[in-house]
Structure formats: C-alpha cells, structure tokens
C-alpha cells in the first residue's frame, strides 16, 4: 500500500511516516515509480510506534523498543527495563504536577476572585520561596 493508505490505517500523518523513515525507525520498500511501498509488517510497526508515542515513549525509546521488537532472541527483561524506566519518568512527572496542583489550588482557593485588587495569588508569587 502507498503512504496515503497506511497513513489512514495507522493514524499517523504521512509527514510523520516519512520522518520516521528518515530517522531510521522504518524502512519501507519502494516500487518502480519511487513510491514507498508498505506491507502488513510496516503497518504493525507504525501502529506500534503510534501506540508507543501515545504512551509517551520518546523517539529514542521507540528506537530501542523497535530494535527489541525486531529481535527474535530478545529477553523480555530488556523490554521490561525500558518500560519500567519510562514508567518511573512518568511517575516523577505526575508527582511534580501534583505538587504544583496542590500549591496552585490552595492559592486559587484563597483568592476572593472579585473586583478588588487584593490577591493572595500575586502576593504569594512575589514572596514565596520554593
């Protein structure tokens, strides 16, 4: 199939697919006219990539995962390792954001939100330390 069709099927923009080829994540065949020619395996890979990206894996993570995906002799421990690392990164990020949320929602709750200029949010921002 051509890039348009696989784009539709994988849900990835054609531009992104070309980009993934560029950076070596996939290597589709070419037909005589120079058009990229994708097979079922490519569809799997692109679905894989779309899914992994949606889960927040970086392109470099994806590169690792793809290599493992293609390696029949891989150890599942290796895959698990990448996934766990990413999981940790996600959990850290969540904690950071939760901390921000707490501070912010506290600030918001202390602010009258009326027409007066007096605002605890600004007051806090101007003085508080981390």
């Amino acid at each position: 199939m051509n890039i348009g069709e696989i784009s539709e099927r994988s849900g990835l923009p054609a531009k992104t697919i070309r980009y993934y080829e560029d950076i070596g994540l996939i290597t589709p065949d070419r037909s005589e006219n120079g058009y990229r020619l994708f097979g079922a395996q490519d569809l799997h890979k692109l679905t894989f990539l779309a899914r992994a990206r949606a889960l927040g894996f970086s392109i470099e993570d994806c590169r690792t995962l793809m290599a493992l995906y293609e390696d029949d002799t891989r150890a599942s421990a290796d895959v698990k390792h990448v996934a766990i690392q990413h999981l940790h990164r996600i959990e850290e990020k969540i904690e950071q954001l939760q901390s921000m949320r707490q501070t912010l929602s506290h600030l918001v709750s202390t602010c009258a939100g009326d027409n007066r200029p007096d605002c605890p949010i600004l007051k806090d921002l101007a003085t508080a330390k981390l």
Copy 2:
C-alpha cells in the same frame, strides 16, 4: 545591585534575566557604565517569575500575571482566572499521565522479564488501538 547579585538572590541565571528583559518581562535601570541596575522591586519581580515558572506557568502566562501584578486597579478575579486555567491544564496533564501510567504498569506487570523473548509489552504495542 548588578546582575550577578540579583541572579544569586533570585536564583535565576544571569542569562535568563537578560532574556526576561529582552522579552519585556522586566525593565531594569542602567547605570552610567551601561550595567543593568536592579532594585528591590526587580528582585520581587524576578522572584515572582521564578516562582511562577516553577509552578509551570508559561512565559505568556507570566506576562499576563506580571501585568496584573503591576496593575493596582486589577480585579483579583482576573488573576484567579489565569491561575484556574493553568490549574486545569495541569489537571488534564495529570490525567493523561495517570492513564499512561496505568496502561504501562499493567503491561509491565504482565511481562515476565526473563530471558525468553515472549513479551506482552511488545505484543500489546504492536496491536492495541488507542
């Protein structure tokens, strides 16, 4: 005080402070030799900025907040509005990440993590839809 001192006191790199001046967030005086000259008010503003950035407010948010900060006739509702918007963005991000975390941790828990090549993580990534 010079940029070095206020950098130390505000915790922001000198480079960043110059950048903030560049984009119009602050407008420090200049002494005769051309050096930037910062006062207590500038320290407040930079502390404000450092704090707001640490809470994840974008530079554009900061611009809005600074304008409100400087406007004695502001309504606290306006500040609250900006903060609430940001709070919503944070909460959305948290939800996304939590969803990722759940999927990932489920995947991780299903993977043996041994020397065999069989890996549910890869299997899922290659087939699952969003």
